[in-house]
Subunit: 360 residues, 2 copies
Amino acid sequence: MNFITFTEAKLRDFTYSVFKKMGCSDAHATLAADVLIRSDLRGIDSHGVARLSGYVRLWEKKRINATPNIKIVHETPTTATVDGDGGLGLVVAPFAMQVAMEKAEKYGSGWVAVKNSNHFGIAGYHALMAVEKDMIGISMTNASPLVAPTYANERLLGTNPMCYAFPAGKYPAVIVDMATAAAANGKLEIAQRANKAIPDGWVQDANGQQSLDPNELKNGGSLLPLGSDKDHGSHKGYGLSATVDILSAVLSGANYGPWVPPFVAFLEPPTDPVGEGIGHFLGAMRVDGFRPAADFKSHLDNWIARFKSAKTVDPTKKVIVPGEPEHDFEQERKLSGIPIIDVVVNDLNELAAKLEIEGL
Amino acid sequence: MNFITFTEAKLRDFTYSVFKKMGCSDAHATLAADVLIRSDLRGIDSHGVARLSGYVRLWEKKRINATPNIKIVHETPTTATVDGDGGLGLVVAPFAMQVAMEKAEKYGSGWVAVKNSNHFGIAGYHALMAVEKDMIGISMTNASPLVAPTYANERLLGTNPMCYAFPAGKYPAVIVDMATAAAANGKLEIAQRANKAIPDGWVQDANGQQSLDPNELKNGGSLLPLGSDKDHGSHKGYGLSATVDILSAVLSGANYGPWVPPFVAFLEPPTDPVGEGIGHFLGAMRVDGFRPAADFKSHLDNWIARFKSAKTVDPTKKVIVPGEPEHDFEQERKLSGIPIIDVVVNDLNELAAKLEIEGL
């Protein structure tokens, strides 16, 4: 495996050009590129430009609308449902978060369920929009079914991530951004490339038995919920994933459970949809709706300092505050660039050739 | 172990009498009894009358105020902070949920952070208040520190439960009500009584090493977050627990992390508090703030039916919808009574003698 390092600006221009070629407006192409590049900056390589050709393939199959008319279809002062019109989740979700933040600005909090959308990138991007305004940001999305609930031998839920983000004072924001599966698919892919066994408790095989084979998903197996098995609380991971699915899709009118359309263009969506597209759920609460923002931040700083200085089992492994590693990546990669693995660079250059734009 | 079965009415009257003897008002004693009895009805025996003498001991030590002046100290149209005035969480949390629901009635959603409170019973009780009004209910609380974050060798977080409850149509509500630890303390106690080893991944010993001994907490060990270890996602359980702690206490002005006062009267609270009492966080969102309630309920029924009929690994173990077992317990125990283990009955009869009220 070789990595080639690019500047943020170079990757951003390239990504913008790809979205423009799909027919996105300037504003949408700029925003969608920003979401993907921020993922790469933050070290979440699985959700950045590595996904770009996947979005294009879905667009080629007319499963992504490059010129969506995103609109509010139902609302109260602090709640709304947004119809994404089949657009990129990368632009639909920021639209919805903006609606949530405007409601929070006026009334203290705002909550938006989204239907008829697509993959929205990293959950943290959207939650961080709120943090920049001294709000608590919440974002979640459902996803195509890969996870078997406790006791099940079929894939009924996505890796359905949830994210909570909190503004701190002198420290970076606390950002809990997590898939509700024991391990997300990206970790299996790393093991596949390295030809290595995975830990027990990540997947089950097609017969529902524990497996250490990272290729099990391709053979009809399933990912397992956070907790891995009943003894270790997999019903909790399943419950969290169900919560994300219900808030994102049953509440908005999107597809849920096994009806969620696949992210990959080579798999066709179910022919009996129960809603429109995939669903998200976004929320914002003004910190000063509860106590003065400065008080909250100074106590959160105290919380962070206490956890960072916790007594550890192994002196080489410090307790990590949620969001700290991604923040450190972002500082470092803004300075020294973003390393992209060669297979992704090749894929992007093939994409560039096909779209007749300049390669990387 | 022997069980004695009591009618719901008998246990309710007894519990009411105990709270009255503490000096609670009629309304508070009735409400606090309702919260505890509902826990026993729903099969969550660890959080019902089994805790009654613990509340009394805290009151005797003047760590619970039986006549609190519970009030809103900060608010916007849809957010508020409530000061519980050191009262029973069993009455403070329903007050706060009522505030959240009134805000939701007017503006679509309502969110209340609570400080200066105590143990609030089962999270599900408060979330279900919202469900009865066709709202989505959210409730969470922090708790005295028993859990070590990933890589830590000290207890910095409680078992910090979170609950999301959703109204369905023909089926019972979906209620995800879960501790964010791999296993809650109640499960260790069951293993202690049976003198049995516990599964790996529930606790670590005083040196931070895995242990199968259910007595490890008494020896300076810690509970582990949901996910158990880093490979299996313990950083996610830790992140969820941190989320509950920050929303419940950093946002409200309660104590957080290792500063949360212990629930047991024989342990003294920290002498350097960072806030007041323990904290909760409660929320309500009108379902019809997003789509017509009938549409939501019929799709949630469809979700439930699909999950209940999922293909299983073992034909004797069906996929369980979150909240289903507790609902079944409630139906059954309302008819045939509530079995209480003899050690708890003896404890309650000693309490009755001390308080000079009629025993069970």
